[in-house]
Amino acid sequence: MNKLLHTLLYVLIAGLVLVLVAREFAPSNYDSEFDIESFAELPVQVGGRIKPLDSVARNTLLILSARQKVITPEGNTLSPIEWFMDLTMRPEIADTYRIFKIEFPDDLGFAGLAEQGQRYYSFNDIQPYFDELHKLYQEVHPEPKKRSPYEKQIVDLNQGLMLYHRVMHSLHPIGDSQRLDSLVDEYQTYASIIGPGMVELRKQQAGDEYDAKILNSFIFFGDEYLKLSQTAHMRVVPPPPPVDPLEDWKNVGLELLDVMRGDGLSPYVTSYAALTMAYRLDEPDAFNQEVHELRQRFIGDFPTHIDRVHFERLFNDTQPFYLSMQLYVLVFILVCISWLCLRKELGQCAFWVLILAFVIHTLGLLARMYIQERYGVFVTNLYSSAVFVGWGAVLLGIFIEKIYKNGIGAAKASLVGFCTLIVAHHLAMSGDTLEMMRAVLDSNFWLATHVTVITLGYSAMFLAGALAIAFATFGVFSKHFDKNTARALGGMVYGITCFACLFSLVGTILGGIWADQSWGRFWGWDPKENGALMIVVMGAIFLHARWGGVCRERGLMALAICGNIITAWSWFGTNLLGVGLHSYGFTDSGFMWMMAFISSQLFFIAMVLLPWRYWRSDFGRSYSIKARKRIIEAAEEA
């Protein structure tokens, strides 16, 4: 009976995990006859690298909506690429989608805009207020750092609308349905008018008689495409073969303008026009045929890039970090239940789910390396540092769990893993997280050593801090927290802190050596360097306080939690200051979160420093009794 129950339990958990995994790994099946997947993989050059349209669609949507889906007025859910297709090919419909996230619509003061409980608005909703918005935007403080939250919202909305407009014009000119339905003809007319147009233009300039009709339509095209070249957001037109991967691509407008110089029109431009026409006329066969041709052309021109672009689209679809985030939650819940009942069975399940989550987390990191072509480099920006801090903490947590087998390692690992991935998720709102590295930072060797090691130091500090928080909460609240558990936890915190010390120290000095190599100064007291040094000093304080007996359990735990504050400061606080070479990602709301985090840690420090008589655990009470005895003895002696 018991055995059956256990089997049932395992099956249940396995089923749950499978559902979670399947949801992310399932091949996206678009309910459409159009070959959306192939379209999503068409290449574009943005931010210095070639990536699939899918990535641009996602990043744009993240910036505008802070999420990766669109809900149409009919209630259908669109993926980013489907939304992108509507935006560029059927803009009249895309304008009705509510994709602009406005956190406080009432505050804008646009009469009639704000709806109760609605934070998403469509282009059409906002359009009547463009004049007002423009006026407000003019009055905003020119210095971004000095803007109030209200002004920031105005700036964000304004910039969002611009981005929307520019992305809309990515593939071809935009106009009424008549124009969009005959784009290919428009290009043909344009191509055929260039020759005669030039002739008429020269005649006009020479003061001879000229054909005004031909000249005017020639000038009309010129104006249109000049505007388009200034608006179009993306470089979708590769240079003609043979191709140098370091050459600039052109946007559609520029390519069309350059036809005037006698260059032939790139087949990519006509293909996108044909795609739009096919999509608008609801002709899937023609659409799919055109996508296929575009793709073949790209493969021919860039044989070494197609795999990476394809892989990036898969990576986007799978969202491995999102999946491991969900699994970490599951681990945490399982461990918590295991402390109440079925300790061994659930504990084991939790451990294996943790391993699975960790593997997926690792795959995600490896995938990023492959896409960026930087093997061994885990951290390239603030976003990836968050992902990697979590990864390191989980790795250490797995070791602890393996040694102690009491669930604490797994619980804390999953908690830190989850929290850091949440942080990463929010950091990703600003756009592409696979951006190029500036020249100063462009060194795979140092990125792989210094940055990796120091970030692992962060991981260890956070894990030690999380374990100390466990000590505080269990010690104060849990009756079952006895001397052995306390000693085990103390040992974990000590071991992890040793590890943190080693990694922060070596990482910091490696950073110094990098600095010495690249600008001749081993140490420059730059805020980020100081932050790293503070972590090392914190670790040193902890170790010396322990070895010298300066602090006992409570003091050491307080120090470990203090380590969380120091690490958070080193990681984010120094970026908030905005000075020095390392301030690579200023996040504004970051400051509030930082304060919230520090307060929470101070709360835990206060908790762990509570006098023993307030501790409800056996462990705490035994101290409290000892202390009382000592007082009584002293009193009796007196």
């Binding site: 050459e247 462009d442 080693l502 120290l505 000095i509 190599q517 306080a545 120091i566 200051l577 000075v579």
Partner: protein
């Protein structure tokens, strides 16, 4: 005495000193928002005592302006930690295998601190701009100035008499070695604003000679600035004295440079060019910039690579060398290191950071020692711990 020794060797002292170090680093980071890295470094880390106060721009200034936090400076803490460490090793530590890791870590730390001290005291940083196709045999330190008297009478070479600006103290007279001249400083301003008097107004100026008189230049002293990428306009009025008395008072400033006609001091048939300029370091070689490249990622303005192809022409031609200097790949030559620091002039001029740091290898040794030491020490602990676990 014994008590004193005990105090200095105690771990409690270590913890307290480390805690102070942490506070010092923290406030030394905050202060940078206000005063920039360079000055903060001098105030906080290369000093014995520092007092932190809330900067005026800070949001909470109105509430916290009374707050002044005195802290021991970097030299004080470093020195005390050093004494603490040595004392502890003398009294408490016995050289055993079990403690070998700790010894290595601490020895590495001592090397690191010494290396940092050496860098503070001995390293020299300056910049060398070179145009494409051009050559340079000197570099300039933009935070230091020197008063120079240049004798250009020799056809092959110039003779330069240089006086560091820190010797220019108002009222003091300095003899210029190997020349009949001496210099009396009338006034010296570390930073100033220099402009021309508006028409008609009489210029109140001690100057009696040179550009100041001809062009009606006026000087407004200003606070010294220390933020990154700022330059102080060092300015002085100096009186040049010959064997028979004063030759006149000149205005010199580091903005009155090659763009202006040289200011001349004459005595008999001898003459010297007088100028205040950024301190120059001359080398027995010339650096020729053959080509500077500034690449960007395709379709963006994000820099991808800066690199300078150079050729070094040494007086001793057997030491001539070609090199490509780019990010993270400096040229080490004759005890100097040349880094790609910046560029100017539409990518036609490359600017190198030139560093002489005799202590540069110490950190490399210390990282090895400290890393190894920690691995040994924690390794011993860890395996002992695993033994205990498995014997349970």
């Amino acid at each position: 005495m014994k008590n004193l020794f005990k105090f200095f060797s105690s771990l409690k002292l270590t913890v307290v000193l480390l805690a102070f170090s942490m506070a010092l680093i923290f406030f030394g980071t905050l202060a940078q928002v206000d005063t920039g890295i360079w000055k903060t470094q001098k105030d906080y880390f290369e000093s014995f005592l520092v007092i932190y106060s809330v900067p005026q721009q800070a949001a909470l200034y109105d509430y916290l302006h009374w707050l002044h936090i005195p802290l021991p400076g970097g030299y004080a803490l470093g020195g005390l930690l050093f004494i603490n460490l040595i004392a502890a090793h003398i009294t408490r530590f016995k050289m055993t295998w079990k403690k070998s890791g700790i010894f290595m870590v601490h020895f590495g730390l001592i090397l690191l601190l010494l290396g940092e001290l050496m860098t503070d005291l001995l390293s020299v940083e300056s910049q060398m701009p070179v145009d494409e196709g051009g050559r340079s045999n000197y570099s300039q330190a933009f935070r230091q100035n020197e008063l120079v008297l240049i004798d250009r009478s020799h056809p092959d070479h110039d003779t330069i008499h240089a006086i560091p600006s820190k010797l220019l103290k108002a009222g003091k007279t300095i003899e210029v070695p190997d020349s009949p001249l001496s210099i009396r400083t009338v006034s010296y301003y570390p930073n100033a604003e220099i402009g021309r008097a508006t028409n008609g107004k009489a210029v109140k100026s001690p100057a009696t000679q040179g550009a100041a008189v001809k062009m009606g230049i006026i000087v407004n002293p200003k606070e010294e600035v220390f933020a990154e990428n700022t330059i102080n306009t060092a300015t002085a009025y100096v009186e040049v004295l010959g064997p028979d008395g004063s030759l006149g008072i000149w205005l010199v400033s580091n903005v009155i440079d090659d763009r202006f006609p040289p200011q001349m001091v004459s005595l008999g048939d001898q003459s010297w060019e007088i100028a205040l300029r950024f301190t120059r370091h001359y080398y027995p070689f010339e650096v020729e910039l053959i080509d500077f490249k500034h690449d960007k990622y395709p379709g963006t303005e994000i820099p991808f690579n800066y690199s300078s192809e150079v050729k070094v022409h040494h007086n001793d031609s057997s030491k001539n060398q070609k090199a490509l200097i780019y990010m993270n790949h400096p040229l080490r030559y004759e005890g100097l290191t040349f880094f790609q620091a910046s560029f100017a002039n539409n990518d036609k001029t490359s600017i190198f950071q030139v560093v002489r740091n005799p202590g540069w290898v110490l950190p490399y040794i210390s990282v090895l020692l400290m890393g190894l030491g920690m691995i040994v020490q924690f390794g011993i602990h860890f395996f002992k711990f695993l033994d205990k676990q498995s014997s349970k």
